[in-house]
Amino acid sequence: MPGSIWQSLRDFDYWPEIGEGTLDTLAMTGCALIFTVFMGLTVGTLLFLTSPTHRSVRPAYQRAQAWAYRFVSFLVNVLRSVPFLILLILLIPTTRAMVGTSLGVRGAVPPLVVASAPFFARLVESVLREVEGGVLEACRAMGATTRQTVFWALLPEASAPLCAAITVTAIALIGYSAMAGVIGGGGLGDLAVRYGYQRFDTQVMLVTVAILILIVQIVQWGGDRLVARLAHR
């Protein structure tokens, strides 16, 4: 019996497509992850710095901070409320304007970033809230600027949970990227939909799912290792 499984895998005709799809998925996810992390860190830190728990002592700034928080928070919520599939369609004109096409790997990256950056930003905000307040007070007491506090204390102190949040986001992105396949985004999701759903080729679908499982496992394992390394407990 095992022999026949190997036999059928050897006879499987779509290895080139599967290989290409895997690379496309990795490219989409990786590219989108870089932008997501960059934007999410920025927006998440902004949310944290303006959040009600962390307000300036000066009343004049307090009001400006409160409005900044409300505005950014509202924007993040709006983007997170739109189902990804709808977001993909809504963003088609914007995507075309930005990268020239709404198809393929390139066309998939902008909607992926728009969908996952607000999600990651919220993760960043909650991770930063877990940083001990005393550390930030110590920074204030030594006369640090906000920028110094963020880059030298806040983000380093949060590095382990931030890394865990990046892992979660990366895995969510792999899932999103499969969905991007539906509207011609390419990658493993595209393959699974075209062969598995439209042509009833169960074998292709199973292989793509198996590869996705493998990628997710590897990402989670790598993320966990990095988190363990960064945590100096």
């Binding site: 007070e137 007491a141 030594m142 006369g143 030298w152 102190e157 382990a160 100096h232 407990r233």
Partner: protein, 345 residues
């Protein structure tokens, strides 16, 4: 060096206003160790944080070397804070970076030294607080006492003139507390620092402070030299805090055998405490007395003694004679009770 003038701090939580500090006026001299003591919630941490404006007063002002801290812009305030060390109760170290990097952080913030000079300074202050061998470890692997030493090293990194300590020993066990207090005394003497120290323990005040302010419900109820406050506490809160460390204000005993009794409270400190005072007084007055309660010892580097004595069958002239002899010996003597009625057997 520091003048706190009519400072008050009000918090509003919802519709309820809470007065953390009420019209506090204090003056702290250069080179002294000034203790601020009170029960939890008395406002002592808030008062300490006013000095470097980690808390902004709702009223009044803080003067540092004749410069109004509240009038500084944010850049000047940061520059001022860089010259003030702050030691926290829970250390507030960064767990993600090594001990050496924690101590180097204020130097990076100030940005006045090159990298090599920063590293050298870090080695120097770590050696000063006695943990040079822990430089490459992470804070989580250190004991509480070692972590507080890192906290102190970090506070000293920028060579401040002023060190603010917020319950610096409250999270430590008694033995570690003693060694950290000794360290504070050492560095104060070696570097000529001014230290303002907040605590809830009279034991801490007793071993390191020169002067003390007692805080209760946001008000300073008593302030003065430590020996003065210990020997002649005026406020109930001070007495209660002293009683906690067994430094009881003598309660005249009721088990007296004499029918005419004068109970006298005697206290002294300084050089005179090193002489055989009681026997001299006894000899000079020619009067007998019994001791109802007594304590003698040291407050930081001041020797002191306090006795409650009962004068046997003394009349008014003998009593006045006794009091004046005490005064001649630089002993503060006060009649606390005179019972002239005879008690039925």
């Amino acid at each position: 060096m520091i003048q706190i003038q009519n400072a008050s701090k009000r918090y509003t939580i919802g519709a309820v206003a809470f007065h953390a500090l009420n019209d506090v006026t204090l003056s702290i001299e250069r080179g002294e160790i000034f203790g601020i003591i009170g029960r939890s919630g008395a406002g002592k941490s808030t008062l300490l944080r006013l000095i470097n404006h980690l808390e902004v007063p709702s009223g009044g002002r803080v003067m540092m070397e004749h410069c109004d801290v509240g009038a500084l812009d944010s850049g000047q305030l940061r520059a001022l804070r860089q010259r003030i060390g702050f030691v926290f109760q829970h250390f507030n170290l960064l767990n993600s970076i090594s001990v050496a990097e924690n101590v180097r952080l204020p130097l990076r913030v100030a940005g006045r030294l090159a990298y090599a000079a920063q590293r050298q300074r870090v080695r120097d202050v770590l050696a000063l607080v006695g943990i040079a061998d822990q430089a490459d470890k992470y804070p989580a692997s250190l004991s509480g006492g070692q972590r507080q030493r890192v906290g102190i090293a970090r506070a000293l990194a920028n060579q401040p003139e002023l060190l603010l300590c917020d319950e610096a020993t409250s999270a430590l066990d008694p033995e570690t507390t003693a060694s950290v207090l000794q360290l504070l005394l050492d560095i104060q003497q070696r570097l000529g620092l001014t230290i303002v120290l907040v605590t809830h323990s009279m034991g801490v005040i007793r071993s390191v402070a020169d002067r003390v302010a007692v805080l209760d419900h946001g008000c300073v109820v008593e302030t003065g030299r430590v020996a003065e406050v210990f020997l002649r506490p005026r406020h109930a809160v001070t007495r209660a805090l002293l009683a906690e460390i067994g430094f009881d204000v003598a309660a005249p005993s009721n088990t007296s055998v004499h029918t005419r009794r004068h109970v006298i409270d005697m206290s002294y400190d300084g050089m005179v405490a090193t002489t055989p005072l009681l026997s001299r007084i006894a000899r000079d007055t020619g009067l007998d007395f019994s001791i109802l309660s007594a304590s003698a010892g040291r407050l930081k580097d001041t020797a002191f003694g306090r006795f409650t004595v009962e004068l046997a069958a003394a009349d008014e002239t003998q009593l006045q004679h006794f009091l004046s002899v005490c005064r001649n010996h630089e002993v503060r003597a006060e009649l606390v009770r005179a019972e002239l009625q005879s008690r039925a057997p």
